[in-house]
């Protein structure tokens, strides 16, 4: 069952008078529970795709369907709610809230919504996540007291706080050394298996993409290879 579907999605950025065709007709689907990777060189459109799936940007053309909902026409409120209910995010530069400690950072998305669980449930769940990402000893540390790898672990736990269907990670290892990066991807994989959460991450690191069970390759705003469908650029053209 596809949880993310893109149909002939185009994205054009206008920079003054110049137009940048970031995506030039992208079609693919990602199934629930997938550990999917979007691969391609810098400027190929990976971030653009993740922004569209993450509902923080809208396509110029085409359809983006998230968990059955078409994002087109949704206003800021609707998009925000959709993000809150279905999506979690992991960023390249971790983006932890500096004034909150580890526990509070992870708890944070949970406190944004209207129908939040009871205090006790929240506590148990956050403690489970902290344990799962191996930071039980650092629960009350602020982000500036953590290493890059530790911060990204917090970010993974935070992305999972609301039990989202999909977690998006735009080059989550780009700011980490390769060994730490590897462990981060492994942690993501572990959580993916444990919670059956769909993970979609972008990378331009070939060794990291190998762990993915679905690889979509991009080049210049087009899908050149989709490991699930076996489609190649040649077939598409």
């Amino acid at each position: 069952m596809a949880i993310v579907e893109l149909e002939n999605v185009k994205k054009v950025y206008t920079l003054g008078k110049a137009e940048v065709h970031a995506l030039r007709g992208v079609t693919f689907a990602i199934d629930k529970g997938d550990f999917a990777s979007i691969v391609g060189p810098s400027g190929s459109g990976k971030s653009t795709i993740l922004n569209l799936i993450g509902c923080i940007d809208q396509p110029t053309e085409g359809v983006v369907r998230i968990d059955g909902t078409i994002t087109e026409g949704l206003k800021d409120k609707g998009l925000t709610t959709l993000r809150h209910e279905t999506l979690g995010f992991i960023f390249q530069s971790f983006n932890l809230i500096p004034v909150l400690n580890v526990y509070e950072n992870i708890e944070f998305p949970l406190l944004l919504g209207k129908n939040r669980p009871s205090k006790k449930e929240i506590k148990e769940w956050i403690e489970f996540l902290v344990e799962a990402v191996g930071l039980a000893d650092h629960m009350h540390h602020k982000s500036n007291e953590l290493s890059g790898g530790q911060r990204q672990r917090v970010a993974i736990a935070r992305a999972l706080a609301t039990k989202p269907e999909i977690v998006l990670a735009d080059e989550p290892t780009a700011n980490l050394d390769s060994k730490t990066g590897q462990s981060i991807i492994e942690l993501m994989k572990k959580m993916n298996a444990e919670l059956n959460t769909t993970f979609i991450f972008s990378t331009h690191d070939r060794t990291i993409m190998e762990i993915a069970d679905h690889v979509i390759q991009l080049l210049d705003g087009l899908v050149v290879e989709d490991s699930k469908t076996g489609a190649k650029a040649g077939n598409l053209l």
Partner: protein, 445 residues
């Protein structure tokens, strides 16, 4: 709500120096207005205290009646209603005096002087004798003898009279006849002229006899109340209970604005200018309270407070500019963070609330600091004893400046600070809320 408050609160301590400067500016404004308010409040309190000492009470009751000859005189006869009222309200009365008074000529040999003379029931006013500072002679005699007088030292000096010598009292009776009495000087007391209080004392029955009244009659009933805040209600209780059925409400209305005070002379003009000509039967009571006398003082103080408010507002506007600029800077610094929070599902409104709460906390912090500073200043200044001129003593409390801050004023000032902080922060907060999550996330700050 709680989350946005928490984040906002933590954000305050993020850039300590910046928050300190903004809160400091607010605190300074608060300090200025609080000191002005507290100072004027204290002065009013001191003037009220000094007035009530000089006038011998907080609530004053006078009785007026018509004589058969068609003259209006000031006199209170023994009255069951009054006695009952005094009894019923005893808990609220700190003390009361029932006195007669006159402005006689005191004559000794070839010298004479006019001076306020109180006729006092010394047994009833047992505290009075204790409060008088005797410089010569003794107060014992007044309890046993009727025709002895207690004189302020300066008056005795003016007349050249000594303790034990006899002087003449010449006055007009209530109905306007000349009358003379002969009294012995029992004691000299310290004058309290700087408080506007300088009077001689004699037994009430003796003065009454001279004035043409019975021993148990008197002219003024003065009361000190236990709770000065309730003085108006207290006075109204008496006014209403003492109103005769035939008396109209207008008597009260007429009585209120027509207060004229002559400190050291007759406390309150006994015969208001616009006296109605129609005669009445029996006694009509006029009840006044210290606040009516204080109205003029409070008017002046009100102007002072308003000037303070204007200064405060100017300071606030200057601070506002600072807050707006700072918040705009904060928005730029936190762009990526805002993007992150938005990605996780924070609504625009909540982003706005973080900034607005921050403004509220900053304002409250500034107010608190300002109040603490004010407290320090007032404690220090209030402990200094000034050797000011006697006329200035009227504004002081035993030579010290007093400060009294009213809670409503403080709340109002705090509300003003919070309100202006909110206005100042509103536009940056809105701009932060309107940031596109995508652009915010791709920002490099």
């Amino acid at each position: 709500m709680f989350l946005t408050m928490k984040v906002a609160f933590r954000n305050i301590s993020r850039q300590k120096k910046r928050s300190f400067l903004l809160a400091g500016a607010i605190a300074f404004g608060m300090l200025v207005i609080t000191l002005i308010n507290a100072l004027t409040g204290g002065v009013v309190g001191n003037i009220r205290d000094n007035f009530s000492h000089a006038l011998g009470g907080h609530v004053f009751i006078m009785g007026r009646e018509w004589t058969d000859a068609g003259q209006m005189i000031m006199k209170i006869r023994p009255d069951g209603r009054l006695d009952r009222l005094l009894e019923e309200n005893a808990a609220q009365i700190e003390g009361f005096t029932r006195r007669s008074q006159a402005m006689p000529s005191l004559i000794f040999g070839s010298k004479q002087t006019m001076h306020l003379l109180y006729g006092v029931d010394f047994e009833e006013e047992d505290k009075l004798l204790g409060s008088l500072a005797v410089t010569e002679g003794s107060l014992n005699e007044v309890l046993t003898q009727d025709d002895v007088i207690i004189l302020p030292q300066p008056v005795a000096e003016r007349l050249g009279v000594l303790v034990g010598e006899t002087l003449l009292i010449r006055l007009e009776t209530l109905t306007g006849q000349q009358n003379v009495g002969e009294v012995k000087v029992a004691a000299l007391i310290e004058d309290q002229e700087q408080l506007g209080l300088s009077a001689s004392y004699i037994s009430r029955s003796y003065l009454n006899a001279l004035l043409g009244m019975d021993p148990h009659e008197y002219q003024l009933l003065n009361m000190f109340v236990t709770d000065l805040d309730g003085v108006e209600i207290f006075a109204r209780t008496f006014r209403e209970a003492l109103r005769n059925p035939d008396e109209q409400e207008e008597v009260e209305a007429e009585a209120e604005p027509e207060v004229s005070v002559t400190v050291g002379g007759m406390p309150i003009d006994p015969l208001p200018q616009q006296e109605e000509v129609t005669r009445w039967e029996g006694t009509r009571y006029q009840v006044m309270n210290i606040n009516q006398i204080m109205e003029a003082v409070e008017l002046v103080v009100g102007v002072l407070n308003r000037v303070g408010l204007v200064i405060f507002l100017i300071l606030l506007v200057v601070t506002m500019v600072g807050i707006t600029n700072t918040f705009r800077m904060m928005m730029i610094e936190r762009t990526k963070e805002i993007g992150t929070m938005r990605a996780f599902g924070m609504h625009q409104k909540q982003v706005k609330h973080i900034f607005l709460w921050e403004a509220v906390f900053l304002g409250l912090l500034g107010c608190l600091a300002g109040l603490v500073l004010s407290a320090v200043v007032t404690l220090v200044v209030g402990s200094i004893r000034f050797n000011a001129a006697p006329s200035m003593q009227f504004f002081l409390d035993d030579g010290r400046i007093s400060f009294a801050l009213s809670l409503p004023e403080t709340i109002l000032n705090t509300a003003l600070v919070v309100f202006t902080s909110l206005i100042a922060a509103y536009w940056p907060a809105r701009a932060a809320a309107k940031l596109s999550p995508m652009k915010a996330l791709s920002s490099h700050t």
